[in-house]
């Protein structure tokens, strides 16, 4: 009903945002260049940041983590104990080429990742079947009752005919997947979102302009957005200072005071739905021994490391559950926090010296991705271990090699690693991907095996009962806090340096930021 109401106001918005009012042109510095804009395929933050303005999702987020129907007309009807989800579509929803958004398009958007086996296929492997009930109704049948599915139907909708016409398909593989040879759609996206794609030069810019016939509401005030990649954080801050960009993404912790002290800019931030951690190789090597992991926790102070190298750009986090989820689900955070050891090098040394799993000349390897904060955490661990008499080596790798190494389980490659995970506002998006046995070697590089924990995660995943799920997650996290395959580290804020020229721009916990929504509408002087 709410969605219908919003759609009804569309006409007003259009008038307001028409040629009469020019909301200006925004330049936005991203942390990296986007690559492609096909939501079915894209799997990187910069591309997603652009795509979310060109494509409208089935459901979007409100100001917090609450879901708001977007292309869907209202909240889904959940049937058969959350194994069947029926979604009615907004009849006004139109793509930028003038075609109506149909149930067929929605179905395509959800099945294409699996059919083409894109990097997003894993997100929808629980879907059994997507059925087009009628032109304005889609029905999802799942393989098991899956309460968290609502976090997965925030998926962006692509126009099936335009997309498939612009893709060259190759042969079919044995598993029935189709290989995509060329994807022109990813370079010339057409969606149902408030902004139209204008031009893209990889590494240089992406330009979007307001779609003046946007069917939804509100009509954006902004006339045009230009995204520019500025990879180096200090340089991003510099471009904010000298006016090259209106908004810069991710203010590094040390630059917080710098941006705060700027006369004509401020920081816009919100806690993200993310989790950063130190993880152990529980596959092979000394760190398979829980005592050793305990000792590492004693050897250094995560509190101190986070305070020095992450704050104020993030906050200390004591469990795999980000703050938002802890609040929403009322998880026993105090209890988990107490599982954390205060720094005690002597204790660490005693444990390590006595442990049979640890050779006297043990020199653990800590691999870190190309991110200063996570590297600093790794160095802190290394220094702590050094004081306990074990020289640890920190190796920083680029994303490519890092992602390959951290799921190898080879203690020659790593004994520990630091990494992070950005999920959706449901514990499943963290617990399943980071700890379930199924995801070992995929997104779980700990190789930590504990049947009790795995069962709990599966139970929670395959249930729609809030209380059952909560208890299962509490059980799983308890085990994790006890066995320490991870030492939780911090939660990063989604932070932006925003020039005073910009008004009504908003950071968002899940979507990173919001340009235009039910609660904000960005404009530039």
């Amino acid at each position: 009903m709410v969605a219908l109401g919003l759609a009804g106001c569309g006409g007003d918005g259009e008038d307001g945002g028409g040629d009469g009012e020019d909301g200006g042109q925004l330049t936005f510095a991203q942390a990296k260049s986007p690559i492609e804009f096909d939501p079915v395929v894209l799997n990187d933050v910069p591309s997603a940041e652009v795509a979310m303005l060109v494509f409208d999702p089935l459901y979007g987020y409100g100001e917090g983590t609450d879901l708001v129907p977007q292309i869907a007309a209202e909240m889904p009807e959940v049937e058969r104990d959350a194994q069947r989800w029926v979604v009615p579509l907004d009849s006004d929803a139109t793509f930028q080429n003038g075609d109506k958004v149909t149930a067929e398009d929605v179905k395509h958007s959800f099945v294409a990742p699996v059919e083409e086996n894109t990097e997003n296929a894993g997100e929808f492997n629980m879907i059994d079947e997507v059925t087009v009930v009628d032109e304005e109704t889609v029905q999802f049948d799942l393989q098991f009752p899956f309460g968290a599915f609502e976090q997965y139907i925030t998926w962006e909708i692509v126009p099936k005919s335009v997309r498939t016409d612009n893709i060259t398909y190759g042969t079919e593989t044995d598993e029935g997947n189709t290989i995509v040879e060329e994807n022109d759609f990813a370079q010339n996206p057409v969606g149902a979102g408030p902004f139209q794609f204008v031009e893209f030069e990889e590494g240089n810019y992406v330009r979007l302009e307001r779609w003046d016939d946007y069917w939804g509401d509100p009509m954006p005030t902004l006339q045009e957005i230009e995204f520019r990649p500025v990879e180096e954080p200090t340089t991003r801050v510099t471009t904010l200072q000298n006016g090259e960009n209106d908004i810069v993404k991710t203010v590094p912790p040390d630059s917080y005071p710098t941006v705060e002290n700027m006369d004509d800019a401020a920081i816009e931030e919100v806690s993200g739905v993310s989790y950063f951690y130190l993880a152990f190789n529980c596959n092979e090597g000394p760190t398979t021994d829980p005592e050793v992991r305990e000792a590492v926790d004693y050897a250094f102070s995560m509190d101190n490391a986070v305070e020095q190298f992450v704050e104020p750009a993030g906050v200390r986090q004591y469990s795999p559950m980000p703050e938002v989820l802890v609040e929403d689900w009322e998880f026993p955070i105090e209890e988990w926090q107490s599982a954390h050891n205060e720094r005690d090098v002597d204790q660490a040394k005693a444990i390590l010296d006595d442990s049979d799993s640890v050779p006297d000349d043990w020199s653990p390897t800590i691999i870190v991705p190309p991110d200063d904060k996570r590297e600093q955490i790794g160095v802190s661990v290394s220094n702590g271990l050094g004081e306990a008499g074990y020289e640890a080596e920190v190796q920083r790798f680029d994303w490519g090699p890092f992602l390959e190494k951290y799921v190898s389980g080879d203690p020659g490659e790593y004994n520990m690693f630091t990494l992070g995970w950005a999920g959706s506002p449901d514990p499943d998006t963290f617990m399943y991907f980071l700890f379930s046995h199924e995801q070992i070697e995929v997104t779980n590089g700990t190789f930590f095996r504990n049947e009790e924990m795995n069962d709990a995660i599966t139970t929670a995943r395959e249930s729609n009962d809030m209380e059952t799920r909560r208890q299962a997650y509490v059980d799983a996290v308890d085990i994790i806090m006890e066995e320490k395959p991870h030492i939780p580290s911090y939660n990063l804020k989604n932070s932006f340096g925003v020039s005073d020229r910009v008004s009504d721009f908003s950071a968002h916990p899940v979507d990173q930021f919001s340009i235009v929504s039910g609660y904000n509408n960005t404009s530039v002087q």
Binding site: N117, E202, G203, T238, T239, G400, E404
Partner: protein
């Protein structure tokens, strides 16, 4: 021998060199550990999918077969397909060539236009304060890391003084209608110049310093030549001597060096493009190495090799143009 035949002969001579470049880069790039297909497909691809991708990039063939195919491909102007972008390597390079060539040529122009007067003045006022100052500048210039100069420039001119932009180089040939806050071609040129000045100076400083040193010593040598004395003895003014009688001869070593310095200029461009976020070949190749996108590594290296070889041929041609003693038979 005519200039055309000479050029053709030089190009022919370049063939074994380019073949060597192709061979070295092919085997180096293929020796980079890590499976590019893995990176391309992400976690948990199916066996058949891996096979299909391998077949698509020709990775299912033995190394020597791939090498031969690659060389044959290069001969037909086909550098393969980037694994990361999925685009043709030639298309990607064509896209990134402009900024790099702009950066390199403007840096060279900056280096030449500052080094020549500086070197000439230095030689003319040998052991005078001007000379000492110019020699100090060139000594410091050849000894300062270019990327550090760039960083300091950004800090001073972009952050503190806020007078110059630090990123997103605008190409002078960009369409004014597509550039924000530019209405005419002139606007675009001004913007481009403002963007270019810091990267240009950072990259050009080393070349400038090196050239100044050569220009000075070369000028000193020429000024002590007998034909310069003779010109003096016939009443030619000092300025005419500098401008005409000594100048042209003194540029001969500079020309040779310009060709050879190309390789250090390219190395510097890699760093400077990273510092100033210039979307050129240098950044492309660094990223390709990070991403183990070896068709792109090979393609970029080969193109750089071509730039270098062509650069050397061009300098040799201009050498022969300036120095009549050198005929096209002798240059080698």
């Amino acid at each position: 021998m005519g200039i055309y035949r000479y050029t053709i002969r030089r190009l022919l001579q370049a063939i074994p060199v380019m073949l060597g470049v192709i061979t070295i880069t092919f085997f180096l790039a293929n020796a980079i550990p890590g499976d590019p297909v893995q990176i391309l497909l992400g976690p948990s691809p199916s066996q058949s999918e891996i096979a299909a991708i391998r077949a698509r990039y020709g990775l299912n063939q033995p190394l020597w077969q791939r090498y031969i195919n690659y060389v044959l491909g290069v001969l037909q102007g086909d550098l393969g397909r980037s694994i990361f972008y999925g685009e043709r390597v030639t298309a990607k390079i064509a896209e990134r060539m402009g900024p790099t060539l702009l950066l390199m040529s403007s840096s060279y122009a900056f280096a030449i236009l500052t080094a020549i007067p500086l070197g000439v003045i230095s030689a003319k006022r040998r052991n005078k304060p001007t000379d000492h100052a110019s020699r100090l500048v060139s000594l410091v210039g050849v000894s300062t890391p270019s990327f550090w100069i760039g960083l300091m420039f950004i800090l001073v001119f972009s952050f503190h003084l806020q007078v110059l932009p630090s990123t997103n180089l605008v190409m002078p040939w960009a369409n004014p209608t597509e550039i924000r806050s530019a209405a005419t071609r002139l606007d675009v040129l001004v913007m481009s110049a403002r963007h270019l000045v810091m990267p240009m100076v950072s990259l050009g400083t080393l070349q400038m310093a090196a050239l100044t040193r050569i220009e000075r010593s070369s000028m000193l040598e020429v000024l002590s030549e007998e034909y310069v004395q003779l010109a003096r003895a016939y009443g030619v003014t000092e300025s005419t001597i500098l401008r005409k009688h000594a100048f042209r001869n003194a540029q001969l070593p500079i020309i040779t060096i310009l060709g050879l310095q190309l390789t250090s200029l390219i190395g510097g461009a890699v760093l400077i493009e990273t510092v100033f976020q210039i979307n050129g070949m240098g950044k492309l190749i660094v990223n390709s190495i990070f991403r183990q996108d070896y068709p792109l590594i090979m393609g970029t290296t080969i193109v750089f090799g071509v730039v270098f070889v062509v650069g050397v041929i061009v300098t040799d041609l201009s050498y022969a143009y300036i120095d009549p003693r050198v005929t096209y038979d002798e240059v080698d």
